[in-house]
């Protein structure tokens, strides 16, 4: 017998004899706030992320352009902004190790937790979301859900090979409980709310 068959046989033999039908899980969304974006901003900030308020008038991408100008190597996967490291030409994830700033667009966001979902389609090369020193995420405010129960209804979890909730930057408190951002992955994560171009508009 292969080890797989052994394990399966042992599980079949030892299954507790319980009559417990699978429960239907409610969405727990009765208390959804009127402004998902305000809630998202608060949650994100609490988790160490930065919320970039778009300027009242003029170029909505101004806060991002400032950061692009200050960075040496910039890798962008969004049509709105150009970087100087073409991700389409990158052959191996290792070639992204020197990227200072990456810019990507999230599939959607979760207000309750302040999370943005980055899938393999959003990242192009998954490693860019972790090897870059800093990450800027564009998020369409129309693509916000209230909580994780709603989030897991989304098709990305059934369609994408890889999808990851980012909630603030990489963090650790492994030494004496002292909170440090930039443990292994990005040192900072900033989210700019901005509607996607036509191609970016994805139905939930």
């Amino acid at each position: 017998m292969s080890s797989r068959e052994e394990i399966l046989a042992a599980i079949r033999a030892n299954r507790p004899k319980l009559e417990r039908p699978l429960p239907a899980v409610p969405h727990f969304d009765a208390a959804a706030p009127s402004s998902l974006l305000a809630m998202f901003k608060e949650s994100l900030t609490r988790m160490g992320g930065q919320f970039l308020d778009p300027p009242a008038s003029g170029d909505p991408l101004a806060p991002v352009r400032e950061r692009v100008a200050a960075a040496r190597i910039v890798c962008s996967t969004v049509p709105e902004l150009a970087g100087n490291r073409d991700i389409g030409a990158v052959r191996a994830p290792q070639d992204l190790a020197d990227v200072d700033l990456a810019i990507v667009r999230a599939s959607f966001g979760v207000a309750e937790t302040g999370s943005v979902l980055l899938s393999d389609r959003d990242l192009k090369l998954n490693a860019v979301g972790y090897l870059a020193q800093h990450l800027i995420v564009l998020l369409d405010p129309a693509h916000l859900v209230f909580n994780l129960h709603q989030a897991y209804q989304r098709r990305e979890f059934r369609e994408r090979h890889y999808a990851c909730f980012h909630t603030g930057p990489s963090a650790t408190a492994d030494i004496e409980g002292v909170l440090i951002h930039g443990a292994q992955g990005v040192r900072s994560l900033a989210v700019l709310p901005i509607a996607g171009k036509a191609a970016g508009g994805r139905p939930p």
């Binding site: 599980i11 030892n14 699978l22 972790y130 129960h149 897991y152 990489s170 030494i175 443990a183």
Partner: protein
């Protein structure tokens, strides 16, 4: 893996400290929680070549980042664990705060996920419940910084899942103990346990410490971990905080019975328990014994108290006996009054 010549590098800061110092983890969420910054400075100075006099936490964390990243870039394979595996989609879900799992899985060509078979849950709708439970029970945050869903390999990469049994399927058949398989490794039971909080995780001598360790370690090796279920006051705090409602303190008690049945409890302990039961059932005899013992402790020479027969005198001083017991004080001051 090291025994077959594979070099393994832990990428979580706490795990890396533990690995460099060749220790067991002392906590399921924060493995190096027992170390002070100066301890970490010493470990890193000896292994990573950092400044032994610099114990600034930011410096130490940054040094580890700088030392580990090149290793990830050169690695042939990245290994992750698995917090939840979703049957509906075939996805493996990994929760970290450092992003080290995503680096390990997304930089090397090969990703191997090691999955305890009890991590399997039916559907995505159930995943929502567990993701919400995990971090709030572990750290009090609404979610971990990274919650990663791996459903297939990335282009040009390979992904392999290894399902680990290691005694779990056998535990499933143990009527009193199978619910310990519900554990999501949040560590809440450790954080609340009065014994764990005093003794620390290393004293358990096992990978899993604290209340949850007490009830799952014997399923891996009942002989080696036979003493752990006795290191509890059965106060039930662990059961009260457990987010998946495992009756931990009841299982600790049940393990004591099970270990006696399996003859894993030494004769001396059993004889002592029998004598204690006899004594505690007879108040007059008990009080006489207390008086004699207290008087004896006061006057006996050290070699009688500190020897191999008295485990309480190993590695520590026996406390001074009180001048008066509560019972004798009560009798003298309130005796006979309602």
């Amino acid at each position: 893996m090291a025994s077959v010549g594979i070099e393994v590098t832990e990428t979580d800061l706490g795990e890396r400290i533990r690995q460099l110092d060749d220790e067991d983890p002392s906590h399921v969420v924060v493995p190096a929680v027992h170390k002070l910054r100066t301890d970490v400075a010493e470990v890193f100075a000896n292994t990573l070549g950092t400044d032994p006099n610099n114990s600034d936490v930011h410096y130490l964390a940054e040094s580890q980042r700088g030392a580990t990243r090149p290793l990830i870039l050169e690695a042939d394979a990245g290994m992750t664990g698995c917090n939840f595996a979703v049957a509906e989609t075939g996805s493996v879900v990994v929760c970290t705060n450092e992003g080290n799992a995503d680096l390990s899985a997304n930089v090397p060509k090969l990703h191997i996920a090691s999955i305890g078979i009890e991590k399997l849950i039916p559907r995505l709708e159930h995943l929502a419940v567990f993701v919400r439970l995990l971090s709030r029970s572990a750290l009090g945050s609404p979610i971990t910084q990274y919650t990663s869903h791996f459903r297939g390999p990335r282009q040009g990469g390979e992904m392999h899942f290894v399902l680990v049994d290691n005694g779990r399927s056998a535990r499933l058949g143990m009527e009193e103990f199978w619910t310990s398989l519900k554990c999501i490794r949040c560590g809440a039971c450790m954080n609340t346990c009065p014994v764990y909080r005093r003794s620390g995780g290393l004293s358990y001598g096992a990978t899993y410490s604290g209340p949850i360790g007490i009830i799952i370690d014997p399923t891996f090796n009942a002989h080696k971990y036979s003493r752990l279920p006795f290191a509890s006051t059965l106060n039930g705090s662990c059961t009260n905080v457990c987010p998946v409602k495992i009756n931990i303190h009841e299982q600790i008690y049940a393990w004591r019975r099970e270990l006696v049945k399996r003859h894993e409890v030494p004769f001396v302990k059993k004889a002592a328990m029998k004598a204690a039961a006899e004594l505690l059932a007879h108040p007059t005899a008990y009080r006489a014994a207390v008086n004699v013992t207290n008087a004896a402790l006061e006057h006996l020479p050290r070699f009688v108290i500190y020897n191999g027969l008295n485990a309480w005198g190993k590695h520590r001083e026996v406390p001074h006996p009180p001048k008066e017991t509560f019972y004798s004080w009560y009798q003298a001051n309130r005796g006979g009054k309602p």
